[in-house]
Amino acid sequence: MAMDEKIGIGAVSGWRDAWGMFSGNKGAIAGLVIWLLIISMAILGPLLYSGNPFEIVSTPMTPPGGKLFLGSDYMGRDVLGGIIYGAKVTLLVGLAATVCTVVIGMVIGTLAGYYGKQVDLFLMRVTEFFQVLPPILLAMVLVTLFSPSYITVIVAIGSVNWISTARLTRAAFLKIKELDFVRAARATGATNSRIMWRIILPNAFPPLIVITTLTIGSAILFEAALSFLGLTDPNIMTWGFMIGASRNYIWDSWWAVTFPGAAIFLTVLSISLIGDGLNDAMNLKLRVL
């Protein structure tokens, strides 16, 4: 994901207008509906499926249809059960990694944008440094060198994914810090940290909400790729893990790789549609790629 830094700030004329715009966007509403369905599946998962997703419940490679709605994989494990069970883990890891990403990105972007000069130069150099490292490869290295636990996975995703957030936060700060109300706050003797976190940051929220939404999508994709490669905890069923486990049987049991992948695709698609809708609704004209 890359961002163009031409942004409009404070173009929101009110949250109600923004909702009006958002709800008029068919794609965004479709995204919201799919997202809510996936969230409910993750929350209500234990009610829908109470078994152990690693349990062998049928003859291997049972095709979809019949008792097992989406069939079973090469070991006879229920594909639908895995998808329902995996929703919770995939979403939790995605959200936790997003928090990690946004915290890193926001702190770096805020310091760079607010202090400017040498601080900005240094932090932007750090950002450029991270841009020359292929993100997924760096995440693979971090998870391999430390442990394949989910804490490592979350921190690894955060460490490779924060660049867009940092650049966007910085761009917003550069723009907002010159505005009159910030000058007024400074004239009344507000401290730097108050101006940064209590005065400028809330005004930078609209673009940050959009980038955070999209970060959830990219965090889920990173988690899926790491699980697909078998770099995450092998005792936890996730969508990426299911695809990775069945990768040698893609022709004999196409359903075991197609459906978990479709789950990832739909989840990220729904979030992207929501992010796109928010971008239009708040009239930010962010070019989010």
Binding site: M1, A2, D4, G27, E128, F129, Q131, V132, L133, P134, P135, I136, L137, L138, M140, V141, L142, T144, L145, F146, S147, G217, L221, A224, A225, F228, L229, L231, G240, I243, R247, I250, W251, W254, V257, T258, G261, I264, F265, L266, V268, L269, I271, S272, L273, D276, R287, L289
Partner: protein, 325 residues
């Protein structure tokens, strides 16, 4: 002369980045759990006492951290990044053999994505509210949302098994006999599915970016002036509009090369494409850490070089940009 200073300046900056990557690798070796000597031996727990002792001496692991870094830096500068015990070969050699495969995959995919993206984005910009433009927007969101390894597997199921048009795995047919032309065609035949997989993700982004960039340019004053002069719409759009709208797409594509490279890593593991990504994956399975860290190092160097080349060519293409920024 200005170009010469620019090349020098970009190269020096590139070298600083290379130094930073070495520092990163050194830090990782030392902060990762476990003994740095085991990390450098590359066989967790499997190396003999003699090997471990020789590594401690070679890397000066009994010395202070700054001294250790200087030793490490010196070894890296000489291109000595350790030996892979699995292959019993220096890791530098192993990686150099794999660079052409990864570059051919990522550059082919990047070119496909840029050229098709420019074409689709330009067509979409001609009627921004039309169905085609809508398709480009939806397609770009879908392209971002699809996991690249899953797209690869879907293409494999469709075009290597269901309709067996393309080979599913590897880079060449093992038993193939024939001249260089046949060999080259065989290579291209194997390249199609992995390159298309990787291109889809970036095509999605570039087509949308090109559409937005064209709309910007077509709404600008100089285009209004060209139209007022009575130039034909075709000339305005395809000659003047496109020429200006392409530049942002090229910039983003250059900046994003590390992502294309990262995508290639994943795609290689799906298609058994014998490049650096597959080597990285194998080195993880074998806990061959010196090899893995060296792959990270070489990937960064390739990205740095590509960035410099894009930056310089961009400056040559666009006479408005001069000097540093």
């Amino acid at each position: 002369m200005a170009l010469f200073t620019l090349v020098i300046r970009r190269t020096v900056y590139g070298l600083i980045l290379v130094f930073a990557v070495i520092l990163l690798n050194f830090t990782l070796i030392h902060i990762a759990p476990g003994d740095p000597a085991e990390m450098l031996a590359g066989e967790m727990g499997g190396a003999t006492q003699e090997i471990m002792a020789s590594i401690r001496v070679a890397y000066g692991l009994d010395k202070s951290i700054p001294e250790q870094f200087l030793i490490y830096l010196g070894r890296m500068a000489r291109g000595d990044m350790g030996t892979s015990f699995y292959y019993n070969q220096p890791v530098t050699e192993l990686i150099l053999q794999r660079i052409p495969e990864t570059l051919s995959l990522s550059i082919t995919a990047l070119m496909m994505a840029i050229i098709l993206g420019i074409i689709l984005g330009t067509i979409a910009s001609q009627n921004p509210q039309g169905w085609f433009s809508g398709m480009v927007t939806v397609g770009s969101i879908a392209g971002f949302a699809a996991p690249v390894f899953w797209v690869g597997i879907m293409l494999l199921i469709l075009f290597a098994y269901l309709v067996p048009l393309f080979p599913g795995f590897g880079i060449r047919t093992v038993a193939l006999t024939g001249g260089p032309v046949i060999q080259a065609l065989d290579f291209l035949h194997h390249l199609v599915l992995p390159a298309v997989t990787l291109a889809i993700v970036f095509l999605a982004q570039y087509s949308r970016l090109m559409r937005a960039s064209m709309l910007d340019v077509l709404g600008s004053d100089f285009v209004r002036m060209l139209r007022a002069k009575g130039l034909r719409e075709r000339v305005v759009v395809y000659k003047h509009g496109m020429k200006n709208a392409i530049l942002p797409v090229i910039t983003i594509a250059g900046l994003q090369f590390s992502m294309v490279f990262g995508g290639a890593v994943i795609v290689e593991t799906v298609f058994n494409w014998p490049g650096m990504g597959q080597l990285a994956y194998e080195s993880i399975l074998r806990r061959d850490h010196p090899l893995l860290l060296a792959i990270l190092f070489f990937s960064a160097i390739i990205v740095i070089i590509v960035n410099i080349v894009t930056d310089l060519s961009y400056r040559l293409l666009d006479p408005r940009i001069k000097g540093g920024h």
